[in-house]
Symmetry: C2
Subunit: 702 residues, 2 copies
Amino acid sequence: MPNDLSLFFNPRSVAIIGASSNPNKLSFGIFRNLTQYGYEGQVYPINPNAGEILGLPCYPRIEDVPGSVDLAVLAVSARLTPDIIRACGEKGVKAIVVISGGFREVGEEGAELEQRCLELVKSYGMRMIGPNCVGTMDLYSGLNTTFIHGIPDRGHIGFLSQSGAICGGIVDYVRGKRVGFSCFASLGNEADVTETDLIEYLVEDPNTHVIAAYVEAIRDGRRFIDVAREVCKVKPVVILKAGKNSAGARAVSSHTGSIAGSMAAYHAAFKQSGVIEVESVSELFDVAVALDYQPLPAGKRVVLLTNSGGPAALASDSIAEYGHQLANLNEETQQRLRGLLNPSAQVTNPVDMLGGAEPTDYGEALKIILQDQNVDVVVPILVPQALIKPEMVARELHHAWKGSPIPMMCCFMGDQSVKEARNFLHEHGIPIYTFPESIGKVLGAMSRYHSWKVRPLSRSQEPPLITQKQEVRSILDAHSGESALGERVAREILQAYGCPIVEGGFASSPEQAGTLAASLGGKVVLKIVSPDLFHKSEVGGIQLGIEGKSETETAYRDLVSRIQQNHPKTRIEGVLVEKMAPGGVEVVIGIRRDPNFGPLLMFGLGGIYVELFKDVAFRIAPFCDEEALEMIYETKAGQLLEGFRGQPRGDLEAVVACMQKLSQIALDFEEISEIEINPLVVYPEGQGVLVLDCRVVLGDDR
Amino acid sequence: MPNDLSLFFNPRSVAIIGASSNPNKLSFGIFRNLTQYGYEGQVYPINPNAGEILGLPCYPRIEDVPGSVDLAVLAVSARLTPDIIRACGEKGVKAIVVISGGFREVGEEGAELEQRCLELVKSYGMRMIGPNCVGTMDLYSGLNTTFIHGIPDRGHIGFLSQSGAICGGIVDYVRGKRVGFSCFASLGNEADVTETDLIEYLVEDPNTHVIAAYVEAIRDGRRFIDVAREVCKVKPVVILKAGKNSAGARAVSSHTGSIAGSMAAYHAAFKQSGVIEVESVSELFDVAVALDYQPLPAGKRVVLLTNSGGPAALASDSIAEYGHQLANLNEETQQRLRGLLNPSAQVTNPVDMLGGAEPTDYGEALKIILQDQNVDVVVPILVPQALIKPEMVARELHHAWKGSPIPMMCCFMGDQSVKEARNFLHEHGIPIYTFPESIGKVLGAMSRYHSWKVRPLSRSQEPPLITQKQEVRSILDAHSGESALGERVAREILQAYGCPIVEGGFASSPEQAGTLAASLGGKVVLKIVSPDLFHKSEVGGIQLGIEGKSETETAYRDLVSRIQQNHPKTRIEGVLVEKMAPGGVEVVIGIRRDPNFGPLLMFGLGGIYVELFKDVAFRIAPFCDEEALEMIYETKAGQLLEGFRGQPRGDLEAVVACMQKLSQIALDFEEISEIEINPLVVYPEGQGVLVLDCRVVLGDDR
């Protein structure tokens, strides 16, 4: 099905089913909105009990409408909705918005109703937004199927939301501030049209330059990543994700799980697809406006041009916090500023023109600054005082800046007296913020997007064909009833895919163990093998530094009898005998299958520090080698491996290769829900890595 | 001198020296402000060239004023200021505000001028605010000596600022929002009256309930802590500190220094004195309003009462981020809500009344919720839609809430349509925020303040009289020319104060070393002693695991010849022979003398991880044992020492004792600028700690 959702925004005709003539009903509000903002298509109110609404003739049923209907907006009770959808299908309606609630969000019965609606919609080849949403708004066609009070100005931010209220709140917040939007879409339960569909649609919408979204859950995570990766190369996508802490409540069964909440999957997905993630509604708004209005800065050198030191100090803190710095103005620039400004003014950056600065000072100083080659961004800051007209400052700034390729954003501190200035700047494509603290966040988001945009879109590497897939298949089949596979079996699985495992093997008697130890040579470690013991070291099931046949035999007997004594009901299969590995940097690599995004890979510092420092990074598989390296560098473990404080650089290539193999196993075998290698010992460059312990969890044990 | 600064806010008479009759001059603005907002005292414009200003007769000089003058506001050039101050002194003026700039902030000449002004002020027993400030404003007396445009409403937030512009910006931002202030003071260069003086004054001011401040530098840090500790027991002090990143630029000479920027001293000072530190202007404002309007929550159980799910999800994220949780409403509450609300409404927390909720629903639901014993805070959330009047919701909420001891704060998402509601709520002492993300920050600040307020104000423990002070005095005198003292001397200093040091001693020949090793018994470590080598391990100057006389003699020769070969010009004094200590948790304790706050103690995880994880906490000495423990618990090292993952609990008491001894050394000897113990090995409870390496830096080496 082609993803043409344009009928939700620019239909030739709209029917409002359940339109009320009672001004206290929300459905009256919808109808009034639809007829109030310049929409030029046909509008049909449908209501068996009303003659006319706002002067338009009412039809009892959709089938009574004389002309064709592109879009139907349903505001009837949930229980009536399926029949109406069928009637719409028969009438030849192409797109449906279901405003009504009472579906999946209220429980099982509602979920069934929703499913019925979806099936009907599909059977007629229609598309549906909702149910349980507030509809759509298009600032170009004038379509408004919501009951939101008021509309924002026309512009280029396309906003989609899994909460209708957030749409309403934003509309209310921006009204009168001259910030423009292209369209709004509230998606509700997303029975059919999802956030990903909308993003895919908006990338083609010429009126939309920036896509902003409020998201609670992305059900098809893989498709989201695939779509968003492509879209973000063309237009910025800014997302606020709610529900950060709900994941923490979920019960989890293992170390990896205790750190990787599913929020980790969202953060990873956003990073991997170039989505700009923000932390709050105000940031969503601030960042979207800046991306819409201004070009991306070419670098991180910022000039502050101010009439006061305090706000400039706060802005400096803010830009530094987000990785930017104050530009060094060249000598000529300083000279020219010195000639222009009050002799007490500061002509190094921040350029402080002092409290008496006039609007023309702002304009003239800005012209000089924009000519300096060391400048990537300009931030004029104004604190209003009794004698200055902020609007005049705004005009001078715009006049001096227009035509410049250097991005500019203003901070005018205040509210009452900067209203006209704010509207003027917004109308002229210049972002303006109330407090200096916003500047850093916005620049940080812009530069994150810039780095993502200039980097080549390397697809996930196609892994080599794995001839050992069959081998793992049979191992898994042999253990299909089990939920957790200990090191003995997990070793075999990893080995089949070529992960370097510490040398060793299984022994079920003291003699076997002794022979194995002798053949391995040098010191060995013995580890108890039992289906009942998951954390071997915590029950004393590991014995280190054994050497030779007879020492091993004795150690075997000691180990087994100790376990039998302390844990009498434990079934003991034998021991793993493994060579003692030389020391190196210990890291952990784990995979957990996220219900929405699939295999989520974790990398971090190993040993006791995994849990103490939670020094971990995440990516969703598949990922390319560059992404794997980025993940490593996000952690302190990455700094250690890079050769921190004179230590040798670790074999990062081998770590990445191991991560890729783990990902591939998880992608190849859906029944694997978790894999953990802890520790993976990393040796100096060229000397590889070694898996010292590992385990696999099958099925969904959450 | 008694700290009575009341004449800066409520003088009987004011002279404006340099008042201009030219409406384009700032000093005209000041004069207009002074006569415009109901100030009832005598006002005297002073200007030799003007006959009258705004209808008031102008006097050529201060001495020409017929009556007495409490407060003089100077707006003349810097160069004329000293003479005018003298004239004010002769006239009997008690308080002076110097608005003019051109003093310390413009360089050395200005600094001298400022010093001259200060001396004159002192010689006449006057007090001075400024220079380089925008003056003071009092919403009760009507005094306004600033050129800020407009004034805020009368209320109970006292605001002081080291930036006049921040005052101006805040006034502009709050105007028309019905948020009340008691007074504003812009302190400029703080030649005489400082932020600490003002805080000390405002604690006595009955009109001020909350003290809010913007601060760039606190020069007398020790006095600030002493004053703020007392004030914060009575009234909350909220501070925004600017200049966070400038400290990072400072060159530092050692590991401790590389982590402890002086911002660390500010953070520590604020923590130790109960000051609520905030991160932005908007947070300063939001937190001050909440503290002024509402009682402190007794616990952390929050109820969200909303007409929409999205904003409630964001609010949940926000409160969880700042350590709060959603209250569990009891069965009866849920039952009653179910009876009241739309059958589809959610009656568990967040209580979601859905989009059609009426103002009365808010009021009635709130009444029910306030009766639930499980509720510490209530947060009503409203997203305006076409049919609701936010002001009516505000009225219902206020009506239902008034008289309740449970704090309430609202989030009404929007701007245009919530103006009346905001003003109504502010007028009735209920904070209201635009976006849900503000809620968590505000509650976090309130609960931090609550914990500080209920905790007993334990003064720093008086340390035992140190009889060894004389011993350290003579060690330091013997090394007075040196800038850095290595382990050999540092051991002696720490030992004198009773720090437990690993057993060992100095040897200047192989034979001496051998004898020493033999007498110590067991394995020893040799460490090179040289005034030229600071980082012994990085030059291979440490040899571990030596045992017995002859092995030690050989090791001595090897060590010395290796160093001589690799570093030919190095002076070698000998070696330290120390017993090999058993393993334990390695931590680092360091002291760095902060220029404003004195000795700043650092505690953190030791070894390579100090620099990698920067897992450190800071406090300013002196501190009590509870504060030392708090500092330990702020770090991951603290979690390790508490017995992380089955490890034995470390001897925290011994760690604290060692921290106290280090502090005492730093307090006793001003010439010590740094001390570092790295590692301090911590053994299980009751088994103490051991200093394995240490060093001392003298003088100011920054």
